[in-house]
């Protein structure tokens, strides 16, 4: 172990404090000390720009903080700053994310490694401030990496990790660090923080390629491109996304050496010998794990997979983890009206690659829209349906008041 690393080891457990998902992300921002932050408040991510403004007001960061007049301008200013060579962070939710939609693919194509705290909230109408994934899922093809965190600790760790992942020369891709609105963003719980020195050393400094501000080697961003070149440019961009899982593995390893916490793209819980597996993302995972333990105690071989990295989607990994199972339930916190809900669609297509080794029945469940809770009894019912094999062909809705008794 190098001496620098040794130092990190000594002070790594410097602070274990009560905080929340929003505050953990804001604290990571303070320690990362980005060059530029441009943000616009929206519930439930508002605490992040508020807390960061406090850091700026008290001289705790060197950041240029741009208090823009809209989310569209927030992400635009972030793109301008990132292309200039700066390290850039921001945060938003729901309709704010939707207003930024136009600029996300531009940021990705510019290879602008922005790290974005996305606090998941339902996308109106009707207006609802609570959690589901209907704001981030429409952005899944925008060319941004999407990482979904389970708790405040993971939000903090992922913020640090994402700086290096986004800026890595083989990746150069912006990242959404997603956490569940209120459930994670406002839950008050203990988080272990690295020391400022350890973070500074871990994230290092950004080495920008072709920074806009290099007036001695001028380049132009955002050209008009005909079909003669467009295809090659997009394919070149996609390669960054394709490299992300490999590079994430390397960087997660570095972080694990400091924290002891591992973050593989998939969090597989008691799946090896499982007959029935529920696949889910973010904060509702814990309930599924609790229920899996309960069912195991009753001799039912239940397991749980949490998909942490949704873009790029770890298809090989999930197909390997699920092949041979008697039944798989995919629990989505957003719907795709008229289509297969996002997570279920990914899982099904991943399994298609291994369908020759035997068919794995995959059933689609939609839960938690607008912040509705997922309770242990709901999850037990899901596993019961799996075992009975009567989940129907369409999506079942969990915890929905339904004259027909729910489902199908």
């Amino acid at each position: 172990m190098g001496s620098a690393e040794a130092v990190l080891f000594e002070d790594k457990r410097l602070r274990r404090e009560m905080t929340s998902g929003n505050m953990a992300f804001a604290e990571a921002m303070r320690q990362i000390n980005p060059d530029v932050v441009a943000a616009y408040p929206i519930t439930p991510s508002t605490e992040i720009p508020m807390k960061f403004a406090e850091f700026v007001a008290n001289g705790l960061v060197d950041t240029e903080y741009i208090t823009v007049e809209s989310e569209h301008s927030a992400i635009t200013a972030c793109v301008g700053a990132s292309v200039s060579g700066a390290r850039v962070m921001t945060a938003s939710s729901a309709n704010g994310v939707a207003l930024m939609h136009e600029i996300f693919p531009i940021a990705a194509a510019f290879r602008a490694p922005i790290v974005f705290g996305l606090v998941n909230r339902s996308l109106g109408a009707p207006v609802n401030i609570n959690c589901d994934h209907s704001d981030s899922m429409p952005e899944r093809d925008s060319g941004w990496i999407q990482i979904y965190c389970e708790d405040a600790q993971e939000v903090y760790d992922t913020a640090l990790l994402s700086i290096r992942l986004a800026e890595h020369k083989d990746v150069l891709t912006p990242i959404f660090v997603c956490q569940d609105g209120f459930i994670t963003s406002h839950c008050y719980e203990p988080v272990e923080f690295l020391s400022d020195e350890a973070v500074k050393e871990f994230v290092g400094l950004r080495e920008a390629v072709y920074p806009l501000l290099d007036v001695d080697n001028p380049v132009s961003y955002g050209s008009f491109v005909t079909s003669e070149y467009y295809f090659e440019i997009k394919r070149n961009q996609i390669e960054g996304m394709n490299n992300a899982i490999r590079v994430d593995g390397e960087i997660s390893g570095d972080l694990a050496r400091l924290t002891g916490r591992e973050y593989p793209p998939l969090d597989c819980y008691r799946t090896d010998d499982a007959d029935y597996v529920a696949v889910i993302m973010s904060s509702a995972t814990g309930v599924v794990k609790d229920v899996a333990d309960e069912l195991r105690a009753r001799g039912i071989k239940a397991g749980c997979i949490r998909v942490r990295m949704f873009r790029p989607f770890p298809s090989k990994e999930i197909s390997a983890a699920l092949s041979g199972k008697k039944g798989v339930a995919v629990l989505d916190r957003s719907a795709s009206p008229g289509g297969v809900s996002p997570l279920a669609a990914e899982v099904k297509s991943a399994l298609y690659m291994s369908c020759r080794d035997g068919f794995v029945p995959v059933f689609e469940f939609i839960y938690g829209l607008g912040g509705r809770d997922l309770f242990p009894d709901d999850v037990k019912a899901v596993f019961e349906k799996l075992r009975a094999g009567n989940c129907g062909c369409g999506a079942s809705y969990i915890g929905l008041r339904d004259k027909m008794g729910g489902g199908d």
Partner: protein
């Protein structure tokens, strides 16, 4: 050319390089060329979507001798905010050159209309940049549609002169005054016939700390239906008829830069352009609109001179 020694400027490379794909005789590249003649420092340029942006960045070529970025149509103000902020932050870390000037440009579409919120936010926040609007009074990149800058009675593809409706029914909004209402240090309005005025104004805009806004009237031969070669003549008519007052607002004080000794009737300016031809096919018929145009011009001039001093 009074005050500016153009001869001295010929030796320098212009940030807008040759080989761009603007129409022959387009006023937009001329406006930006002249504007950059007034800037001595290194400059970074941000462009809103529009003719000039598209035609100067046709992949794999760029006509920008300096760093250039285009993000989208409605957000040049926010984009330049980010670049200027990055320069400040990284300057503190000793990165990149000091004294870089930031210039954003947009047509009247990206400035008067879809980009107004972004521009207003940037002006209000007070970033150190200069915004240049090359105002050809319509959406040219998409084919001569009307904009908030299109004058009354002009025929455009979305306000065509027809049997029932004689072109655009509304007056152009006064964006120069909207910018001035932000109480920013420097706002100016000019056009192409007197390059020394344009060069001086942009130089002042760039050298003034904080945000500055320059609104340049730029003919579009296709939309205005003029002979490209007549561009400079048309600009002079716009100034001499007071259709486009040449003035500046420095630290809140309005100064008229050019007062025509004997103003020419705005009719002369209208008659010179095909986009107003429907007013002249049956004069007796549309005299009212020509008079209306004169009334609009006189009212604006009255309002302007009411709170402005002639240049000392």
């Amino acid at each position: 050319m009074g005050g500016v020694n153009v001869r001295e400027l010929t030796g320098r490379n212009n940030p807008l390089a040759e080989g761009h794909r603007m129409c022959p005789g387009c006023g937009a590249p001329t406006a930006l060329r002249q504007a950059f003649m007034g800037i001595d420092d290194p400059v970074v340029v941000v462009g809103a979507t529009g003719c000039l942006e598209v035609s100067t960045t046709v992949y794999p070529y760029s006509s920008w001798r300096v760093p250039f970025m285009h993000v989208a149509f409605e957000n040049a103000g926010a984009a330049v905010s980010g670049v200027a902020a990055a320069h400040k932050a990284m300057g503190r870390r000793g990165l990149f050159r000091d004294g870089i000037k930031f210039v954003a440009f947009g047509g009247d579409g990206g400035t008067y209309d879809i980009g107004l919120q972004s521009l207003s936010g940037a002006l209000e926040r007070g970033h150190d940049f200069t915004y240049i609007c090359y105002n050809n009074q319509g959406y040219m990149n998409t084919g001569a549609q009307r904009s908030g800058a299109t004058p009354r009675s002009a025929s455009s593809t979305t306000s065509p002169a027809g049997r029932l409706i004689p072109g655009k029914l509304q007056r152009a909004k006064n964006l120069t005054e909207i910018a001035a209402a932000h109480d920013i240090p420097y706002v100016a309005q000019t056009t192409l016939h007197d390059p020394s005025d344009l060069i001086k104004k942009v130089r002042r805009a760039v050298e003034t700390p904080g945000p500055a806004f320059v609104n340049i009237l730029v003919p579009c031969a296709l939309f205005w239906k003029i002979d490209p070669a007549d561009q400079v003549k048309i600009c002079r008519l716009a100034a001499d008829s007071r259709f486009w007052p040449i003035y500046e607002v420095a630290n809140g004080e309005r100064r008229i830069s050019y007062t025509p000794k004997k103003p020419v009737p705005v009719e002369d300016f209208l008659r010179a352009q095909g986009r107003y031809s429907h007013l002249f096919t049956d004069e007796a018929n549309r005299r009212d609109l020509i008079d209306q145009a004169q009334a609009d011009v006189d009212a604006e001039w009255e309002k302007l001179t009411g709170n402005a001093k002639p240049q000392s």
